[in-house]
Symmetry: C2
Subunit: 491 residues, 2 copies
């Protein structure tokens, strides 16, 4: 075997083991008995040790050194790019630190969940302190003298720097706050009225998943506290949740996760269990979940179809027309929770977290001051006070599990989705006519063909640029928001 073939054979098992670790994470959120948590932490740590040992195996370095990069085709070169990135990244982090982070974050997640349920920040802070300390150590090892936060960002969005984000978000924020202020001066549209039984929500949720092309031969939908998508290749599972008063929470969580899952399911089969067999970055991933959820799922055309589905499922819920339903779905109102935020305000929530976590990682903010900093920033951006920690600093799981550098990819995804949506509208002129019939296949087919199928073949910016035909920037997203919400609110 050539060094390249040996490397790929070795990497195949690493990819398979990585899927196993992902499956354990899914199990922990959906099926695992509560009392299993301490043992699961040991299992995750052992898996992490195995994966770390493989990613840093000296043979990987030898194979990488022995391969003549000039002789490789595009796929092989991309495989090599990803394996090299993973090898160099893993080699920088000491094995015992990696295992400690896996163990600590596995149990920290349970502590966070309990603290959120009890609205008890103090119960979470010591654990967060430990996580932050460990992640800063990891960041310092990765950055090797450079920007700690930027090094973390590279785990989720390689090729984008903290400075890139600062510039992009700097252009986004004034547009968003201005639009938000204009909207909130207008009368609020009517919302839905009534209670929506869980079985009915889950049934329509499954219909929506199918409408957007989610393949349950290679996936399944379960309930979880926090909706997520998990896995790559032939086994991509999603979760959703229900709220009896707010069926949109369930439906749009589902469509969002279906966007993530379809990206994974639609990658070319050739890439299965290779470094290219998963979505290329979190930002590109989020572009898919958001374009499914918002530009398609919350469009006037698609909500017209959904209105009929909901009337069939739940009868009268106080909304008299498709236009009124479109406005209800897209209602902009005050709220504390990022995951429940409308399209206009969502990114303000994200930008808040980006600035705070960056300050935590660079040492400019102490964990003990985090809650106050959160509450101050929230008041500044939204104009009112956080009422309780579960509506503020305790609302997201991310930091408890060590995800620093992840939040900004949500907003980056929205920016990417804006670019893709502009190109998609150009490519499929009769898109609205199709969406009005509940048919997403032209849109999802275009995304599959131009973006999803490539998996990790191109870098994040490359694939967005190729698919959308433009250098990514915030303008198309802002223009889309302004047009849509000006229509709904008569601005």
């Amino acid at each position: 075997m050539s060094p390249y073939d040996e490397l790929m054979a070795f990497d195949h098992d690493t990819q398979a083991l990585s899927q196993v670790a992902g499956r354990l994470g899914w199990d922990q959120e959906t099926m695992m008995p509560r009392g299993a948590a301490p043992q699961r932490a040991e299992e995750m740590a052992a898996m992490e040790s195995v994966l770390h040992a493989r990613r840093t195996d000296p043979r990987v370095g030898e194979w990488l050194a022995a391969i003549d990069g000039d002789q490789l085709d595009a796929v092989a070169a991309a495989n090599l790019r990803e394996i090299k990135r993973s090898f160099e990244r893993a080699s920088k982090v000491p094995a015992d630190l990696a295992a400690t982070i896996a163990r600590v974050t596995s149990s920290a997640q349970g502590t966070w969940a309990d603290a959120r349920a009890a609205d008890d920040v103090a119960a979470f802070l010591p654990v967060l302190e430990e996580v932050v300390k460990l992640k800063r150590q990891e960041g310092a090892a990765l950055a090797a003298g450079g920007d700690i936060y930027g090094a973390m960002l590279a785990d989720y969005e390689p090729g984008t720097t903290a400075a890139d984000l600062e510039a992009m978000f700097g252009a986004l924020r004034p547009g968003l706050t201005e639009l938000r202020a204009a909207i909130l001066e207008r009368p609020a549209p009517k919302g839905v009225n009534g209670t929506f039984d869980e079985a009915g929500q889950l049934k329509l949720s499954a219909t929506l998943a199918q409408a957007f092309g989610y393949n349950t031969t290679h996936g399944r939908i379960d309930k979880a506290v926090h909706p997520f998508s998990s896995g790559s290749g032939l086994d991509v599972r999603i979760t959703t949740r229900t709220n009896p008063e707010d069926p949109f929470n369930c439906f749009y969580s589902t469509i969002h996760e279906v966007g993530h899952a379809c990206y994974e399911q639609n990658i070319d089969a050739d890439h299965l269990l290779t470094p290219l067999g998963a979505g290329v970055s979190m930002g590109v991933h989020e572009s898919q979940s958001r374009i499914y959820e918002n530009q398609l799922g919350r469009s006037r055309a698609f909500t017209g179809w959904l209105y009929g589905q909901m009337r069939d499922a739940f009868g009268d819920f106080g909304i008299e027309s498709e236009d009124a339903f479109f406005a209800a779905v897209n209602r902009v109102s005050n709220g504390y929770i990022r995951t429940e935020a409308d399209e206009v305000q969502y990114n303000l929530h994200v930008l808040l977290r980006f600035d705070l976590e960056r300050a935590l990682m660079t040492g400019n903010l102490a964990v003990g001051d985090l809650e106050a900093a959160w509450n101050d920033r929230f008041r500044a951006d939204f104009g009112y006070d956080v009422d309780k920690p579960s509506n503020g600093v305790l609302q997201d799981v991310h930091w408890s599990v060590g995800l620093f550098g992840y939040f900004p990819t949500y907003s980056l995804g929205n920016v990417y989705a804006g670019c893709l949506h502009e190109a998609l509208r150009g490519a499929v002129p009769d898109l609205d006519a199709q969406l009005a019939g509940g048919n997403t296949s032209a849109a999802t087919g275009w995304l599959r063909e131009n973006l999803q199928r490539h998996g990790g073949l191109y870098t994040p910016r490359e694939v967005i640029t190729k698919a959308s035909g433009m250098e990514p920037g915030p303008e198309p997203f802002l223009a889309y928001l302004k047009e849509k919400f000006s229509g709904i609110y008569g601005l």
Copy 2:
């Protein structure tokens, strides 16, 4: 660190990874989307590679050689005994043979399932021939000149030889055939009548699991095609199944798996993720599942309580008294299928398999003659002909997946359960009064204290002997059967 401490630290991760592999197996049977199977096979193979490499890691041999066994306490000595056994076992089988067996049995299982569905023995035999050939090679490598079948048995029941089993089963078989014949001359008791809705069965099934002490903080119950228990330590899950006409299938499958699961859950916490943190052998495991299911769950006293529960849940189902219900639960009737057999006939099914698989492994029976040998033996023991292969030689999955030496542990478990039951009755004189109220705590507490909590600390025969106060033999089991069924059938 001492060599012992280094070895135990290394083994800790091996144990944790082994739990992960077990969890994948659970997922495959309960949750996995159908189309994920090819990817799961790769994931399982990668996990197996990792585990095999750890079990045969040269450092394990070095640590074992460096440890002074005379300096160890009982727990450390037992840990060493188990690690040594695993290391020597794994080191004896060439890696390519192990890989070939894994690959061949993986596809053989599918061939078997198709052949069983089509009642086509000829479609299965060539594959079985291959499996038998490979397993004999493996057995020869393990036996190193000794008894091939005995070497296989040692995988499931270390310390018990084929000759031990032959002696034990030789004493069992005439007693069973005699009792069976006497019973079948008597009129059959009335069975239950009606259909029993799934939700009601699952609810009562959960009540039964709780009544026998199953802890769902560290476990969960799901539906699966085949009931099983999976996992050790803090995460021990079981499955059950329902049949609308036969609620006992669900209830006694559940109690059986609860017996397995409680053995795992009740092991001393000190042994968590060590070689002693799981049930010590298949035979001892089966002794727990069978004593929960039969000696306790199918007792006159407990069925009296269950009768009330079933009347509350399902109303009238054609049984007019507790005595009639006891007889219905313990009805003995002709049947082909081992897993559906009553207490009297079950072991006749197992003994048949033991003799045939031993003959296959020692080369005294050719695969081509297997069906005829099965049918002859069945006629001899049961008095009527097998009507089709799916009711005969094709009924069990075991041989297709290479499980030779496993079947006899089912009957050994019944023999052990007979000994334990005799001791338990002596230790808890008012047991029936408690069972009549649905209270199993004295019985399960006695089993926990005297057997379950030790995990792998003692060898199988040691722990049975210590707990029951006798050398294990078939007499108590036979005496129990004779007394119970003489009462029911008026012999």
